[in-house]
């Protein structure tokens, strides 16, 4: 990858620039250090709702104006709220990027939060939650997180609890916006076909005049140590059973995180291009016809989170049949470790996945934004190199350290009405 340039404006705005001239395109991102982990009870889902309100206009760019402007330019734009961050992006032909930069500078301070628009968006967001609720696995994920985090903000879904979505006010939303959307709590990122000096000058002219404010104290509550295995059962109409097995994992800036990532590649695959049918979990669960599919995820987070394995049971099998197979694979990791061949495969998969994920400027910019959120702007640039340094002993050690019963949360989704067929179309 080409060189990253890193600046900080006097008002505290972090600026990350990377020139990529393979296509006449620029991806432009604003990342704010606020997500669902920073939401107290009563205001769950507020970061995501604020993200929606950012598309409801400023005086300069009224609601809908930028939708049309960016589509007219052939661009794409969107935003994501995660547990740790809220990110906005526009990817446009290089000669059209100015409008996006002006828009992001404007809405950092000047979003309106019209009361009528807030009420209209309330029903849209509740609809978004209800759409997710139509998937039985949403209920399982919500219950598992709730069981895993009693205190920390990772305990609720990013969309928020419906009771809060019904009671939050326009003023709650506006306060959250004013508190967290400031230069010192944000990064501006550009990747694509530009000259870095010119780009920096543009950013200084657009963002330099934004008032300097101290970065906000973010609401966080540390999760106390887990005192033993936790289990949750969810029952929903349907015919398909699921099992989710989670273990507590360190934050992304911890040395063990990369070791766990290699462990995950060996257990379930790299998460890149491969469909992972030689992975240990596929061989143990799917090839034996207990599961229809199995996947696992280690999410890079600011605070300690979870390493999660999700099993979709075959029609005629039960979660209780999958559990001992999963636990046996975990014990095997601890007792037998991993082979050099498995390690080499994980390394090559990592190199390939890294190549695929850096093909587009949008993906490169996303990872720079995520690196900023994780507190190390070089986190993704060094990702592949750090993974290559992980040894077989490292993998065994982290398996022994983290995959413990007392660090475990196990969730089961039981389908309840296998006798009741949906009405025919």
């Amino acid at each position: 990858m080409t060189q990253l340039t890193h600046h900080t404006l006097p008002n505290g705005l972090t600026v990350l620039l990377r020139e990529v001239h393979s296509a006449p395109v620029i991806s432009w991102w604003l990342a704010y250090r606020v997500g669902s982990r920073n939401e107290p009870t009563g205001l769950t889902g507020i970061s995501h709702w604020v993200e929606h309100m950012m598309f409801k206009g400023t005086e300069r760019f009224p609601a809908g104006a930028l939708d049309r402007e960016i589509d007219r330019a052939g661009g794409q734009w969107n935003a994501f709220t995660s547990m740790d961050a809220t990110k906005y992006f526009e990817t446009l032909p290089a000669d059209k990027i100015d409008i996006a930069m002006q828009a992001e500078a404007d809405r950092m301070s000047n979003a309106i939060f019209d009361a009528d628009e807030t009420e209209s968006e309330r029903t849209v967001i509740i609809s978004e939650r209800q759409g997710a609720e139509n998937q039985p696995t949403f209920w399982l994920a919500e219950e598992v997180r709730g069981a895993a985090f009693r205190v920390h903000g990772y305990h609720h879904e990013i969309i928020g609890d419906e009771t809060d979505l019904r009671t939050m006010t326009r003023d709650d939303l506006y306060r959250h916006y004013r508190r967290h959307y400031c230069a010192a709590n944000a990064a501006a990122i550009a990747v694509g076909a530009f000259d870095s000096e010119e780009m920096l000058a543009k950013i200084e002219s657009l963002f330099g005049s934004i008032e300097a404010e101290a970065a906000p104290d973010l609401f966080t509550r540390a999760e106390p140590e887990q005192q033993g295995e936790r289990r949750v059962i969810v029952e929903r109409p349907g015919k398909t059973a699921f099992l989710e097995l989670c273990h507590r994992a360190p934050p992304a800036d911890h040395d063990d995180w990369m070791k766990l990532q290699i462990m995950n590649a060996i257990l379930s695959g790299s998460g890149g291009a491969s469909d992972n049918k030689t992975s240990r979990l596929y061989q143990a669960l799917v090839k034996t016809e207990v599961a229809a599919s199995v996947g696992a995820w280690l999410t890079p987070t600011v605070d300690p989170y979870l390493y999660s394995i999700m099993v979709t049971l075959r029609d005629d099998r039960r979660p209780e049949e999958a559990e001992p197979l999963l636990l046996a694979e975990i014990e095997r990791l601890k007792t037998e470790g991993v082979s050099e061949a498995e390690l080499n495969k994980a390394r090559k998969q990592t190199r390939a996945a890294f190549a695929y994920s850096t093909e587009s400027v949008t993906e490169q910019a996303y990872w720079l934004a995520q690196s900023f959120i994780l507190g190390d702007v070089t986190w993704f640039d060094n990702y592949a190199e750090r993974l290559m340094q992980v040894t077989a002993d490292d993998v065994r050690e982290v398996a022994e350290r983290y995959l413990l019963p007392r660090n475990r949360v196990l969730g089961i989704l039981h389908p309840t009405d296998s006798e009741q067929e949906p009405a025919p179309a």
Binding site: F55, R68, A73, E133, S274, E289, K348, A425
Partner: protein, 434 residues
Amino acid sequence: MTKLIESIPNASNIARAELDSGITLLVYENPAVQSVNLMGSLHAGSIYEMPGQSGLASLAASALKTGTVSRDFDAIHGALEDVGADLGFRGHVHKLGLSGKALAEDLGLLLQVASEALREPLFPAEHVDRLRGERLTWLQYSNYDSRYRAAKAMREALYPDTHPYHFGTYGSDDSISKLRADDLKAFHAAHFGPRGMILVIVGAVDAGEAIRLAADAFGDWRNAAQPPVEQAPEPETLSTDRRPQVFLPGKTQSDICMGVVGPARKAEDYLAATLANSVLGEFGMMGRIGKSVREEKGLAYYAFSRLGGGHGPDPWTVSAGVNPENVELAISSIMDEIERLTTEAVTDEDLADNQSYFTGRMPLRLESNEGIASHIHSMESFGLGLDYLARYKDLIYGITKEDMLCAAQKYLRPDNMVIAVAGPEAGDPAGDSG
């Protein structure tokens, strides 16, 4: 800075070759990346299935990598996964699709495994049985998915059961349960062959070397039994039930899927219809429907329209997810926008906006190997010519407001529309949260 006109794939920078087997090969060099993308198709979709065998083509596609004459299941997946490569096959209505990617240094391996899977699959019974079970699990999960059920109900009412588009490519519980390894073997023997096959390679490769590798892998493939290419006819009759409803227990949202029969990709008015569709439910955060249903009335998180535009008369659909008590209001709001589109020409601003949108988005669509390969494959598959992207701007700016109105009037006829709804039944406690 790269000039767009230089980077558009066209007849002068796409290497096109016909292998001895009859396969059309297209290669585009993209030295800006480290990887290579493989995309292809052959005439082995669900349109070739016999009655009662719905899902056969798709299941055969899924089973291609379960064992071949040269490698067993573990050897196939080991070869690919050891180098972080990916190779997949998917059964569509008309064609079987092939897609893969690898680091550029592994293109030869990717082509070789693809060739073995397509030419000499064994369809081992134990793997076919396992895949059938996985497919049944997927179907049973989907049967409780309101969005899936709304789209399925719309499709089944729009196309009679004598039409190939009536059936989902994944089949049904009933049809999949009956399929065995011998069915897959027979389907493969009768339909898999090089005639009409397209293969596209895009990435950090030398075109001459890529052609040589593809010729090594596929050049001597023959199948004299390959039948003529099937076409999907225009559906002649609509179901009498234009408002199918599917009641699902425990849901909190209803999904709406409205559909009419739309134009095929090669229809003369296809581009006019796509521009009209963009005005209706795409441009500027889901078009007029998004503005009315989502932004103004706050009824839905998603509400958009989509034009299929494949090898036959695919549906032109509008989809929305709403609270059960808002279903009728959402449908009437959507119908208002359809009536407006079919009775009034769009404004000059609408036309200019959408022409700019269609032509302006091309650089982003051509940014990745996969995007480039997809466009090259479409140009070849639909017979658009390899200069199509170079002509694209003129084609879009040649469309008039009257062309869009005619296309909308021709296809978006309320008397031809099916409106399917899937969600909770009235009185279901789970549906009362709104």
